[in-house]
């Protein structure tokens, strides 16, 4: 079977080209912008085109034998230095194709939604240019044929998140949030780069000048020494914690809510945060050989999930709640891939992308209806005004809480069950608790926003359903959030685990079997915990919610356990002080000295040479003869 195709490049290229065209148009016409319809039409071309190509790739891959199911395209040799040979190439296998499917699909839906949400905004063209760029970078990240190409996309999404989070540049807080996201991501990127460097260092003799891509790395991975392999895994995971917002680098994600709501949806559902999971799954052949690294990943994941779920229970801002839920769900995913249940983790990424996009876009609709009001304590009773939004939000919340038969149930339970089956019962236990918390805070949100009495009558009166361009994507996503789980119906429900089977060739996974009884009991238990959470939320918030100041532990939770303040006091401030010292004292007095000295020397020499340009033709002739004479002396030696 021929593995080389020439249309892979179209997938990232179409959104990138869209970004370029939109960006140029915006720059050329920023004074008197073109009609919004034109921008939106152009913006849609890229994502939809990518979606079509993704479908083509999917069907091509399906026809290939499972064991050699991949497509590649090499565009050109990017660079080649010593043994390091990097091709600018793309690589599509079942894993990346699954990512492509939901990235392009959900990305397109969010694009459509944005047309409505951003209508009438300033910098409409710039927004869509960034959006397309974001999607294009994510697609490069997913499709890159090796860690170096992946890194282009990795940095690209980081850049775009910065640009989009601080999109409303007039507000200084937004810019600071963008800076925070960028800087925290850079910390993670350092880990990633170091990991790739160590990986290459460990492999360069095994590669022997062959291309530094996944196929060759996988083939040579067995030659890594144990220490090197472990170091690579841990360093790469640092990168993943940055991009996928895990402890201790999760702090940027809640602040990233500063951007327009569709941006949050895109970051949380389709791009950026899934990158870390993708990367760990991509290197599953490494993580599988180092159980310790896997344990670290799993524990960091599940603890992040717990922490974020607790914080989520006490937030007031509708988008922050969703943000912490994302952090929490990402923790689940890492727990999944950490216990070597890669397909379960990936499947949760897949389902999560549907219901999280749904929740964000639904929240966006609410915010849009209430003219940018984000505090859930100022909402209430919106069920009557926005029935459609209510329905889809409930579906999203049920899916998030993991209530059967919605999408989240199957994927989350798969992770929990796999943790149990592999003997990580502590992780399983925490996971179940987190499930209860998740149910609690998601329904807290639903009840406070849609039920009860309106707490702010004025904005309640103005509320209305958004236009169809926004509701249609919501409906499509709601359908997805309801049924996406059935793609991977486990054997327990006499399903055939379609997604896991599809992913099998890309992942190195050992399936462990546990008895049907255990599986059943675990499932019932988690459903029960979820129901408990929903019930508690109903009891507390459905009829007569009280917005009283929080105290004690709850206050801690509301203030996010002071992690940001901790970072500020112990990392940011000392760092700033250190920087001040350097710039005020060390830089001008010590570092600049040789620079200034050289500058001075050159200035003096320059003046001297000016004198030599005396302007007399005879003097110039004399220079020539002096040169001639010196060279003659030199040449006479060799005669």
């Amino acid at each position: 079977m021929e593995h080389t195709v020439n249309y892979l490049v179209c997938i990232p290229l179409l959104p990138l080209a869209g970004a370029f065209v939109l960006g140029m148009m915006h720059m050329l016409t920023c004074k008197n912008p073109l009609p919004e319809k034109l921008y939106s039409f152009l913006a849609m071309l890229g994502p939809l085109g990518s979606l079509i190509f993704t479908v083509i790739i999917f069907s091509t891959l399906r026809e290939m034998p499972a064991e050699s199911r991949y497509l590649t395209q090499n565009m050109f040799t990017w660079f080649s230095a010593g043994d390091l040979h990097v091709d600018m190439g793309l690589f599509a296998d079942p894993l990346s194709t699954l990512f492509l499917i939901f990235v392009t699909f959900i990305g397109s839906l969010i694009h459509i939604y944005s047309i409505g949400y951003m209508a009438g905004e300033e910098n409409y063209g710039k927004y869509f240019a960034y959006f397309n760029l974001f999607l294009g970078s994510m697609l490069i990240l997913v499709l890159g044929n090796g860690p170096v190409v992946m890194f282009i996309g990795w940095e690209g999404v980081g850049l775009c998140s910065y640009l989009l989070i601080s999109f409303y540049t007039k507000d200084r807080d937004n810019v600071l949030a963008g800076n925070k996201a960028f800087i925290v991501n850079r910390v993670g990127d350092l880990g990633f780069v170091l990991g790739v460097a160590v990986l290459f260092w460990g492999l360069h003799s095994a590669l022997g000048g062959a291309g530094f891509d996944y196929l060759n790395i996988k083939a040579g991975a067995s030659t890594l020494t144990a220490g090197t392999g472990l170091a690579v895994c841990l360093l790469l995971f640092i990168g993943a914690t940055g991009k996928s917002a895990q402890f201790p680098l999760y702090v940027w994600l809640p602040d990233a809510m500063a951007g327009p709501t569709p941006v949050s949806a895109l970051i949380h559902a389709a791009t950026m945060v899934t990158a870390g999971i993708y990367m760990v799954a991509r290197f599953s052949f490494l993580y599988a050989s180092y159980p310790f690294a896997g344990d670290v990943v799993a524990w960091v994941g599940i603890l992040t999930a717990l922490l974020a779920a607790i914080i989520g229970c006490f937030q007031r801002d509708i988008k922050k709640i969703l943000a912490y839920s994302t952090v929490s769900q990402l923790g689940y995913m890492f727990a999944g891939v950490g216990v070597a249940a890669y397909s379960a983790g990936i499947f949760h990424v897949f389902t999560h992308s549907f219901f999280k996009a749904l929740l964000f876009l639904g929240a966006g609709s609410v915010i849009y209806a209430l003219h940018h009001e984000q505090d859930i304590w100022k909402m209430g009773g919106l069920k009557k005004k926005m029935p459609l939004t209510w329905i889809v939000m409930v579906i999203g919340a049920l899916a998030l809480a993991g209530f059967p038969p919605f999408a989240g149930f199957f994927s989350k339970d798969e992770i929990l069950f796999m943790a149990l089956a592999k003997g990580h019962w502590m992780i399983w236990l925490i996971g179940v608790c987190v499930a209860g918390l998740t149910a609690f805070y998601s329904f807290r949100l639903i009840f406070l926003v849609f039920h009860g009495k309106p707490r702010d009558q004025k904005s309640y009166d103005n509320a209305h359903e958004p236009p169809p361009v926004m509701t249609v994507p919501l409906i499509i996503l709601a359908v997805g959030a309801t049924f996406a789980g059935f793609f991977n119906l486990p054997a327990f429900f006499s399903g055939d685990s379609m997604v896991s089977t599809w992913l099998a060739p890309s992942l190195l996974e050992h399936h462990s079997e546990a008895s049907r009884v255990t599986e059943g009991v675990a499932m019932v238990l988690s459903i029960a915990v979820v129901l408990l959470g929903i019930f508690y939320a109903w009891k507390k918030f459905a009829s007569k919610p009280e917005d009283k100041p929080l105290t004690g532990f709850a206050k801690w939770g509301e203030d996010k356990f002071y992690v940001d303040e901790f970072y500020n006091a112990f990392i940011v401030q000392p760092w700033i002080a250190f920087g001040r010292t350097i710039s005020n004292f060390i830089e001008p007095n010590i570092v600049d000295l040789p620079v200034k000295g050289t500058t001075w020397l050159y200035g003096v020499l320059g003046m001297l040479f000016k004198v030599f340009q005396a302007g007399y033709v005879r003097v110039y002739a004399i220079y020539m003869v002096i040169g001639l004479s010196l060279m003659s002396i030199f040449l006479s030696q060799s005669l």
Binding site: G606, F609, F612, Q613, V617, V619, Y620, M624, G627, L635
Partner: protein, 469 residues
């Protein structure tokens, strides 16, 4: 037949020169028309040259011309650069002479004549043919430099250039005589044959090559034969300065590269000498440029530095597989930036070239953002900032030096290019970070402005060109 096609662009240019010369006699002759005609001739010659670009390396009319002219891929590239330079110089001149009224039809005739000389020089496969071509080129350029008879600066420039040029030309003659004495012939193929059996350090061959190189060093303004270049560039009109800095250098480099590449023996014997000349040229040029306040003099001095880089490439050429691609690429990159710079100066310089110093361009970015941006592009390309053509050119030169084992030279080249930022950035700072003191009222619809923009695009196009390959 093939020979005739290879010869076609030269014939076109030559015809153009002669026609314009005759047109000059016509009582109703107008210089504006003449400039359009010469533009046409250069354009046609350029496209004719594009047609012949693919011809393989061979002597032209070997029976009739006795192998004295030849074409190769490198020669073709050099000719392309010369024609393009001529074309853009004509565009700049057209604008320049709207505010400076001293042009006549002969100006364009001489421009075409000098291009003929340059093309012949790059095609020459025989020393005395090369000498005559060099003189055609030089004499035409001398006259163009001194074209403004009313200006004492211009007269001084032609005087200095002519005296020193003729002085250095005498060395070429003496060198040719010595090589003739050694090898019994002045044809490149015979010299190569002779060198196959005799060492290049035979006294007569060594001395002959030495004197030839002296002339070449003078023409490309290598240290210590550089002193004339600032005064002459300063004194001549903007378009001509651009033409001199680019086309002339291209042709001379084509000739000397062809000569040095004729035998590995000969090239090897000059590596050490060229090494030192390259180093002194780069650093001497930088030091001179640092002290300059006048943009034209600064560009002239930076031209010395660029000659240094090209000498690095000359050190690194491989005689067995000589394609000259690196040299041709760098020349193209350098020419585009320099021509663009002088096109912009022709456009912005104003009447009697009143804007010449760094301070005169203060705040240009506020009044003429497009012009400032294009000038910044050219300066950045000259400084070798990616993704401009200048960066790629320098990159190739330094990699070729390193792959030829001249690591020290490569490192020195990088250091020199860092130093050169000093004076390039100074102009950018002056344009962008100062308030405007005047309005820079210029005719924005002129041909020079179009050519400036076209060249700025070309800076990037040439920079990306190797990626396309």
């Amino acid at each position: 037949m093939h020979d005739l096609v290879s010869f076609l662009p030269l014939v076109i240019t030559c015809t153009g020169a002669l026609l314009l010369m005759l047109y000059a006699v016509c009582p109703k002759a107008e210089q504006e028309k003449a400039s359009l005609m010469s533009m046409g001739f250069f354009a046609v010659a350029f496209f004719a040259q594009l047609l012949v670009v693919c011809t393989v390396s061979r002597p032209l009319f070997p029976e009739t011309f006795n192998g004295m002219l030849g074409v190769s891929g490198f020669t073709n590239a050099a000719c392309l650069i010369v024609y393009a330079c001529g074309f853009f110089t004509t565009l700049s001149s057209h604008t320049y002479f709207r505010e400076n009224h001293f042009a006549t039809v002969e100006f364009y005739s001489l421009l075409l004549f000098s291009a003929v000389g340059m093309v012949l020089l790059s095609m020459a496969r025989e020393l005395i043919t090369a000498f005559i071509a060099l003189e055609i080129m030089s004499l035409a350029i001398y006259v163009l430099v001194g074209f403004n008879r009313a200006s004492s600066r211009s007269t001084e420039a032609i005087f200095k250039y002519l005296i020193l040029g003729a002085f250095s030309g005498a060395f070429f003659c003496m060198g040719t005589a010595m090589i003739y004495g050694a090898a019994g012939s002045t044809r490149f193929d015979s010299i190569a044959e002779w060198l196959a059996f005799n060492p290049a350090t035979t006294p007569l061959m060594l001395g002959g090559a030495f004197f030839l190189l002296i002339t070449i060093f003078f023409k490309i303004s290598a240290f210590p034969f550089h002193a004339w270049v600032l005064d002459v560039y300063d004194g001549s009109s903007n378009p001509i300065t651009g033409f001199m800095a680019t086309a002339l250098k291209t042709a001379v480099f084509a000739m000397i590269a062809n000569f040095l590449a004729l035998s590995g023996n000969l090239h090897d014997s000059w590596i050490t000498g060229l090494f030192w000349i390259a180093v002194f040229t780069m650093f001497g040029g930088n030091l001179i440029a640092i002290g300059q306040d006048n943009v034209k003099r600064m560009i002239a001095a930076s031209g010395i530095v660029h000659s240094g880089y090209l000498l690095i490439a000359l050190v690194a050429i491989n005689s067995e597989y000589f394609s000259g691609a690196v040299i041709a690429y760098y020349l193209a990159a350098y020419s585009v930036a320099t021509l663009g710079m002088f096109a912009a100066l022709s456009w912005l310089g104003g009447e009697g070239e009143k804007r010449v110093t760094f301070d005169d361009f203060k705040g240009l970015a506020k009044r003429q953002p497009l012009a400032a941006a294009t000038i910044a592009v050219f300066l950045l390309s000259m400084a070798g900032i990616p993704p401009t053509a200048g960066f790629m050119g320098k990159f190739y030169i330094i990699t070729s030096a390193i792959s030829a084992g001249q690591i020290a030279l490569g490192v020195l080249g990088i250091i020199s290019s860092i130093i050169s930022m000093w004076y390039y950035l100074r102009l950018i700072v002056s344009m962008y970070f100062h308030d405007a003191e005047e309005d820079f009222i210029v005719d924005g619809s002129s041909l020079a402005s179009i050519s400036t923009v076209a060249l700025a695009v070309a800076v990037f196009a040439i920079g990306l060109f190797p990626l396309v390959l």
